[in-house]
């Protein structure tokens, strides 16, 4: 097995401490990571763009501020990789699509701005499934990303480049977006921590929209504590995002060590064998996590989330419906690609036909169909009702339970090319992660053991909205036990 993962990861908090106390410069930290990228990026292809010059300038600026006695923030000198569907001012942002060819956003996404303000060094833009539509990062106009644990396997998706960048040691932190599992599933497949915050908890300003009622930005890290630190940095109210929550929580790290004594944990039976396609080794590993929490003092019980059975269908109607509307803006007029035509409509058609890849076209057509007269009630309308049932199921469970547990991905990383020609088989990868997006709840994946193939397995922790603190406590407990 051809693997490029480092023997040991250096944590973001450790780097920030060393840089802030001038034990090491931000520039030296950056150069070490650039060397890693230089060595292995050609095999992994985590990045669409490595912003070497801007990164060096930023690291030097951080070092200068520190030498002047300025407080540079909790991510001083920490290299961070940004998913290429988040706007970076003056730096190409492609969503791994040909349709945004040549586009340099005129502004930074709020999360990018906050990371810079916290002292982070942005190292580049990571590969993704085009417009975040996919579960393997094979739907990229710039070629697939490979899993650092085994280069013949996919890293998961859609934030596969971000997950792979962290797993390969290219950056201790990466940012992704999660619409149906696009942070958690690649985190599981690449053996790193991935967090989808509460919907509205992290600003979506500057995130290229896929499905606006589901999209949420979150961190990848090599430890639960690092993820919590980054979540604190990027989280909080943003007046530029109309769905941002005013009371969004952004204090998690202080309580991370509180353990799980007296917590009630529910295991979602539908995702532990109730639904077909979830492999036994993943279920077994999740059961080990259950015993771990039980030994640590939590009260663990099996629970039922009946609407989970219908989530996959509901999601693959709702997300494409929203996408078909959001992606109508790519018309060859204001930015990106234009393929000329005799009149406006022909130009629109030529541009979109040439600019979008197959998976994006599939979802646009699916969404257009689900929203069209005569089918709206049967498909989109029904899916929205399933969403309500699911929200009621969760609300009922959270009266009695603090968090819920399930696998993150139904299987370990699969081979490149294995599922890409069969969309429905690919969609099943999201079966465990979709429920949290439909209801806007936080959830995260942490690495927990590995499968027979030696590839990482992730366990998912789900929590009620705005209750990330308890989610991080549970994750931290599991992390300590698995080390």
């Amino acid at each position: 097995m051809n693997s490029v993962t480092p023997e040991q990861y250096q944590s973001a908090s450790e780097i920030a401490d060393l840089v802030a106390t001038r034990e090491i410069s931000a520039l030296e930290i950056l150069e070490r990571h650039l060397n890693k990228i230089e060595e292995h990026e050609k095999d992994v292809h985590a990045f669409n763009l490595v912003t070497i010059n801007e990164a060096r300038a930023a690291a030097k600026e951080t070092d200068k501020l520190i030498s002047e006695g300025e407080n540079v923030g909790p991510l001083a000198g920490v290299p961070v990789a940004i998913k290429d569907n988040l706007c970076t001012k003056g730096i190409p942002t492609t969503a791994s699509s040909k349709i945004l060819e040549g586009w340099n956003p005129p502004y930074d996404a709020t999360v990018v701005r906050k990371l810079k303000e916290a002292g982070a060094t942005i190292v580049g833009k990571t590969n993704l499934d085009e417009f975040a539509m996919g579960s393997s990062t094979e739907n990229s106009a710039f070629g697939p990303t490979r899993n650092p644990h085994d280069l013949t396997c996919v890293p998961g998706g859609s934030s596969g480049g971000s997950a792979a960048a962290v797993a390969a040691g290219f950056a201790p932190i990466a940012i992704g977006s999660d619409t149906g599992g696009s942070i958690r599933q690649p985190a599981a497949l690449c053996g790193v921590v991935g967090v989808k915050p509460t919907y509205g908890g992290v600003s979506r300003y500057g995130l290229l929209a896929f499905a606006s009622s589901l999209d949420q930005v979150g961190p990848f890290a090599t430890s639960v504590k690092d993820a919590a630190i980054v979540h604190e940095v990027i989280g909080g109210y943003d007046p530029l995002d109309s769905t941002s929550i005013k009371q969004a929580p952004n204090s998690f790290v202080n309580e991370i060590d509180q353990g799980v004594k007296k917590l009630k944990v529910g295991i979602i039976s539908e995702l532990m064998g109730g639904i077909d396609g979830i492999t036994q080794e993943v279920i077994d590993q999740t059961n080990i996590a259950v015993s771990t929490l039980s030994n640590a003092g939590a009260q663990v019980e099996e629970v039922s989330l009946p609407a989970a059975l219908y989530c996959l269908s509901a999601y693959y109607l709702i997300a494409p419906a929203e996408a078909s509307s959001n992606l109508s803006r790519y018309d060859g007029v204001r930015y990106g690609l234009r393929v000329d035509g005799a009149n406006l409509q022909e130009m629109n058609v030529n541009t979109r036909t040439e600019g979008f890849g197959d998976e994006v076209k599939r979802r646009i057509m699916l969404g257009t169909y689900a929203l069209s007269a005569g089918y709206y009630d049967a498909y989109y309308g029904k899916a929205l009702k399933v969403r309500r049932l699911l929200a009621e199921n969760f609300a009922e469970l959270y009266k009695d339970y603090d968090v819920l547990l399930s696998p993150t991905s139904p299987c370990t990383a699969f081979k490149l090319g294995a599922k890409v020609d069969d969309p429905m088989t690919m969609y099943v990868n999201d079966v465990c992660t979709i429920p949290s997006n439909l209801v806007g709840h936080p959830a995260m994946s942490i690495p927990f053991g590995s499968g027979k193939d030696g590839m990482p397995i992730g366990v998912q922790i789900l929590a009620p909205p705005m209750k990330e603190s308890v989610m991080y406590q549970v994750a931290h407990t599991l992390e300590k036990a698995s080390q």
């Binding site: 586009w103 009622s213 693959y316 009149n343 029904k382 929205l384 969309p423």
Partner: protein
């Protein structure tokens, strides 16, 4: 079980979405969309008359801000990004063809 979507419907939907499909693509996409919609028959079959649809995770109505001028992007920030510009505006091909 009747087919959930016909190739004529896929053709129509592609037109609505401003996409052009080759004849091979039409066959492939029809099969693939049909597989997804067949899977969705489980949702289609549910009796949910008494359930309120939920279109968004947060119960927000309108988000208003105070009417105070804020700095905003100038045309010179974004017009250079456009494929074609004339006189400070986006330039598009003619909207009505002669024969239409």
């Amino acid at each position: 079980m009747s087919d959930s979507i016909s190739s004529d419907e896929v053709k129509h939907v592609a037109h609505l979405a401003r996409l052009r499909l080759t004849s091979e693509e039409l066959v492939t996409f029809t099969d693939q969309l049909r597989a997804v919609l067949d899977h969705a028959k489980d949702v289609e079959a549910l009796e949910l008359n008494d359930v309120e649809p939920m279109s968004h995770p947060l119960p927000i109505e309108n988000t208003m801000r105070k009417d105070i001028p804020n700095p905003m992007l100038k045309p010179s920030d974004f017009l250079p990004q456009a494929p074609a510009v004339e006189g400070g505006r986006f330039l598009v091909p003619k909207i009505l063809g002669e024969e239409e």
